[in-house]
Amino acid sequence: MSKIYMDHGATTKPDPEVVRAMLPYYEEYFGNASSLHSIGQEAAVALNRSRQQVADLVGAQPEEIIFTSGGTESDNLALKGIASLKKNSGKHIITSVIEHPAVLNTCKYLQDNGFKITYVPVDDQGLVNPVDVEDAITEDTILISIMHANNEIGTIQPIEEIGTLAHERGVLMHTDAVQSVGKIPVNVDDLSVDMLSISAHKIHGPKGVGALYVRKGTRLESLVQGGGHEMGKRAGTENIPGIVGLAKAAELAAQRLDDDASKMCSLRDSAIKKALESIPESYLNGHPTRRLPNNVHLRFSYVEGESLLMMLDMKGVAVSTGSACSSKSLEPSHVLAALGIPPEQIHGSLRITLGRENTMDEVDYVVESLVEIVEKLRAMSPITPKH
């Protein structure tokens, strides 16, 4: 049975072109980019070229790109790096209740270390109201960090508006764009952000590598002390193969953005429409239009998500769920809870995240499988109403 992978929000398959671009930097050009000899300089050339490619994807200058070990580190660097530099001018940070744990738990850490964090709410479709952000700004506010697109429900935030008002008030703006980069146009000037997080493995690049865009003139403190790598903002010998992979993935994403987005939007809309039509008491989570092109997030009454996921897996389909039963913490999704969805319905939620290789036939197969599985689980469920 061939597998259908529809969990691209979790990770993506490295593009063969990405792997091909990386291999020489393991097999041949193994040099240290800091070395002055020609073997080292080959690595330095690759590093500079990669910086340019990643900068191009988000409309930045190469010297504004800092390579990191991934989205999590980029988020940590943005928040802690600003917090430790600015702690004498202010100790207040604004974020949202639906951030990725990489931001949320960094905020909790900062809170434990004397910072004050405001978590702005979202509406029932997952949107932050810029007015709430504006109202939360005080004299003490040093940073606003609101994600561009949510990793669970795919809701796209009005970052332009929030970034603009942050700058009017002299506050720095960070956005976690790990899920939006490569799926919708992302430009640091249009978004009016000072910092932006990127992760390679969400855009068909390798795992364990990412970048933080830091606007020219924005100072932040490094989290790791060492040699002066990455303009003094991130010490450690650069992961050249990984960085080359990220850069190739960025280049491909930029080239394919329009085609990928329009293809995925049609698959997405078809999946949502067919599922909602053919399964009674099924609902869409998140925003109907301000939504990532590849995100389908549904919930089904009376069934539990891990069971759904496992039955789909037995049919060769890989997806994910917000159910507590599948999470390490046994906590239901904080994102779905923030939308006001009751816990028993959160357990019945399913996230399908499409990729550029998925087809309409696969979407149809997945919806047909879902119809069958939901019916089977409902017949087994003691909370399904009797007719």
């Binding site: 009376y302 069934v303 539990e304 891990e306 069971s307 496992m310 039955m311 037995m314 159910s323 507590a324 039963c325 599948s326 390490k328 046994l330 239901p332 009751p342 816990p343 028993e344 357990h347 017949a379 087994m380 469920s381 003691p382 909370i383």
Partner: protein
């Protein structure tokens, strides 16, 4: 993460459904927490002649429900009361540690059904 036995019971659960004229019904768990099950028993001459279940929950919840019906069927009330959560998990070749507490409710469900049966009979 699940054993073969768990997967086997999950994909092919035994004794799913309700017993219309059950002698005892046990309901445990809560959909808010993600797991809820109802166990139905039929008792004849001190023996469990039929056991069925309905479950809302994860793979472990469904597999343990299915397993308890197999373990309990044909047993006497006394024997059935002896079946523990650990027995259910062991019969399934183990459960992931994180599932031992929340999803391993089937033994409790069976005991609740027996208690219900005993309460009904006391009042007769």
């Amino acid at each position: 993460m699940y054993s073969k036995k768990v997967m086997e019971h999950f994909s092919n659960p035994r004794n799913v459904g309700e017993i219309e004229d059950a002698d005892g019904v046990g309901e445990v768990g809560n959909p808010v927490c993600g797991d809820m099950m109802t166990i139905y028993i039929k008792v004849d001459d001190g023996k469990l002649t039929d056991v069925k279940f309905k479950t809302f929950g994860c793979g472990a919840a469904i597999a343990t429900s299915s397993m308890i019906t197999e373990l309990a069927k044909g047993k006497t009330i006394e024997e059935a009361l002896e079946i523990s959560r650990d027995d259910v998990a062991d019969s399934l070749d183990g459960l992931p540690p994180i599932k031992m507490h929340c999803s391993n409710l089937a033994a409790d469900g069976l005991h609740a059904a027996i208690e219900d049966y005993q309460n009904k009979n006391k009042s007769k």
